[in-house]
């Protein structure tokens, strides 16, 4: 593997449970240093994909390569190069934050400084507290700390900020940005589209086991889906118009009304709007919700 090869490469990935295809031919690459956000509704196949790449699940067919290794056959030295933050944790945690991190640091040849990590996830004041006594969001921060303690080349983040308060989420984004600046490649799944927009370089949207769109965060969904919306109130009725020239439209409204229009706003579709539009057209019934 050379430094220009993708860190993650997936071709026609399929995973079937009986007759049900949880993944039905997914293909994408993640380049070195890139943060790739995998988005999609519950049961769409995000976690199945990420767990196949982490080596936790076997694929039914297709090709997968993670750091140049088939993830179904990765050994300990392969795992030493990964950082994994799983979606759910329920450990009893009869150790303190510091004890847990110091212990896990020993698993890696080139681990980060324990106190630095504790500070980076904002748990300085809890470092001597037993993990089971922490709140859900604080435990999640321990999970993130354990995921990065080994200085991974590739970091998997499966819904990392569930249970975070807005301030912790901002702090977490800062941490991820510093990891990105060190060159860490990141595969992120999240239900927070603002998080994907903040952190991701590219995104893939998965629904019903297939990738329905993939591209740079600011281009996904195509230019059509990004056309701004001008909204105003006229004679008590809320009106809106989709236009690529919102300034001109507003000027013409002002001209026509001869006054400042009520409740005027120009709305640029957020990643969340675009995402919801894409998923809605692709997946009218949410029968997949119950399938996994």
């Amino acid at each position: 593997m050379t430094s220009t090869d993708p860190v993650v490469s997936v071709r026609e990935l399929r995973k079937t449970y009986g007759k049900f295809a949880a993944l039905d031919g997914v293909s994408f690459d993640i380049e070195r240093g890139e943060t790739f956000a995998l988005l999609g509704p519950n049961g769409a196949g995000k976690s199945t994909t990420i767990e196949i790449l982490e080596g936790y699940r076997d694929r039914s067919s297709g090709e997968a390569s993670v750091l140049g290794v088939d993830p179904g056959k990765g050994g300990l030295d392969w795992k030493a190069r990964l950082g994994i933050v799983l979606q759910s944790t329920g450990e009893s945690g009869n150790v303190t934050v510091r004890e847990q991190l110091a212990h896990f640091a020993g698993y890696y040849a080139n681990s980060r400084d324990v106190d630095e990590i504790i500070a980076a996830v904002g748990l300085e004041e809890k470092s001597k507290t037993l993990i089971r006594k922490l709140s859900g969001g604080q435990r999640r921060r321990v999970d993130v700390a354990l995921g990065i303690i080994g200085r991974p080349e590739l970091l998997f983040l499966d819904e990392p900020t569930t249970g975070f308060d807005p301030e912790s989420r901002r702090q977490f984004w800062q941490l991820i940005r510093s990891l990105k600046s060190e060159g860490t490649t990141i595969l992120l799944t999240t239900h927070y589209l603002d998080e994907a927009a903040q952190l991701g370089d590219r995104a893939g949207i998965i629904a019903g086991g297939t990738l329905i769109d993939i591209g740079r965060i600011h281009e996904i969904g195509g230019t059509e889906a990004r056309i701004p919306l001008v909204r105003w109130r006229e004679n008590g009725v809320l009106r809106e118009e989709r236009t690529s020239e919102p300034g001109r439209v507003v000027a013409s409204i002002v001209d026509r009304l001869g006054a400042e229009p009520d409740d005027l706003e120009i709305v640029r579709p957020s990643l969340e709007d675009i995402y919801l539009g894409l998923v809605a057209t692709h997946e009218p019934a949410r029968e997949l919700e119950n399938a996994l």
Binding site: M1, Y17, E54, G55, Y56, R57, D58, L67, G68, V69, K73, G74, G75, L76, D77, W78, K79, A80, R81, L82, I84, L86, S88, T89, G90, E91, S92, N94, V95, E99, H103, F104, G106, Y107, Y108, A109, N110, L130, L146, G150, E153
Partner: protein
């Protein structure tokens, strides 16, 4: 796995180093769980105390010099054997089943921790806690219940190998049975009855010689009966040997049956232990 250049290769000898690190971690967390400390660590001591108090007026025979053998002396070897079973089989069986269902093992599966280091940690934890438990039992028996301990070095040598072989076998079997419960919540309901039935048929609570022959034959398949017999050989007066079913302590068979179970346990662990069940 294809050879790839890793930036910092894992150093040699790390399996043992991490095993030692796991032992420290396991022992520390073991004593922080209140329930485990009570139900497996102190349980044999509680039982020894109950038997000693309940049967304080009763005689359990006399030694060759005609000295009375009290309840504590009679039950000490049985409680030591029970301790081996509880510290290993019951403790680890429940503990690992819990770690499997709460995601601890899944987390380990995503790290470069060798499975063997994890096993060393578990077996080491059982060894340390089992040793402390045995020391506590013997100490309380001697100091509180006035049990005269054997003085011959031969007896303590027997104790050393029966304890060591027993505790390791029990720990390995604990890892092996941890795969049986389907969830961590059902683990105690599945594993404690196994341990309890074994204790009742193996001469821990009931005198083995008084059990029906068919039940003795069934119990003789399992290692606990032999561990208890080995412990009796250490702590009971030598004239009790004739009261054994075969008329002898039969230490060779103690070593053989326990050793066979150790091998069976190792094979089962090797074949069945997984960090996670893929596709579950």
């Amino acid at each position: 796995m294809t050879a790839i250049a890793t930036p910092t290769p894992l150093p040699a000898g790390r399996t043992l180093r991490l095993g030692a690190s796991r032992i420290r971690y396991e022992v520390k967390t073991y004593f922080r769980q209140g329930d485990a400390v009570f139900f497996t660590f102190l349980f044999p001591l509680v039982m020894l105390t109950i038997f000693s108090v309940a049967f304080s007026e009763q005689s359990f025979g006399t030694d060759a010099d005609g000295n009375n053998v009290n309840a504590a002396e009679y039950y000490l070897p049985a409680m030591l054997a029970a301790g081996l079973l509880l510290s290993g089989l019951q403790n680890l069986g429940v503990d690992i089943a819990g770690e499997k269902s709460d995601g601890t093992l899944k987390r380990f599966g995503g790290t470069p921790l060798p499975v063997m280091s994890y096993f060393i940690g578990k077996i080491g934890q059982v060894l340390v806690t089992g040793l402390l438990q045995a020391a506590l039992l013997i100490g309380v028996a001697a100091i509180v219940f006035r049990v005269s301990l054997p003085t011959a070095s031969e007896n303590w040598l027997t104790f050393a190998w029966v304890f060591l072989l027993g505790v390791i076998t029990s720990a390995v079997l604990g890892i092996a049975v941890s795969g049986i419960p389907r969830t961590g919540k059902s683990a105690t309901a599945v594993i404690i009855p196994i341990a309890l039935v074994l204790q009742f048929i193996s001469g821990v609570y009931l005198s083995f010689a008084q059990l029906p022959e068919w039940l003795q034959n069934v119990a003789s398949i399992f290692p606990l009966k032999w561990m208890a017999q080995g412990m009796r050989a250490v702590f009971l007066p030598s004239n009790y040997e004739s009261a054994e079913v075969g008329g002898s302590w039969d230490l060779a068979t103690v070593a053989l049956v326990t050793g066979v179970w150790l091998v069976i346990g190792l094979v089962v662990c090797r074949l069945t232990f997984r960090w996670i069940r893929k596709d579950s």
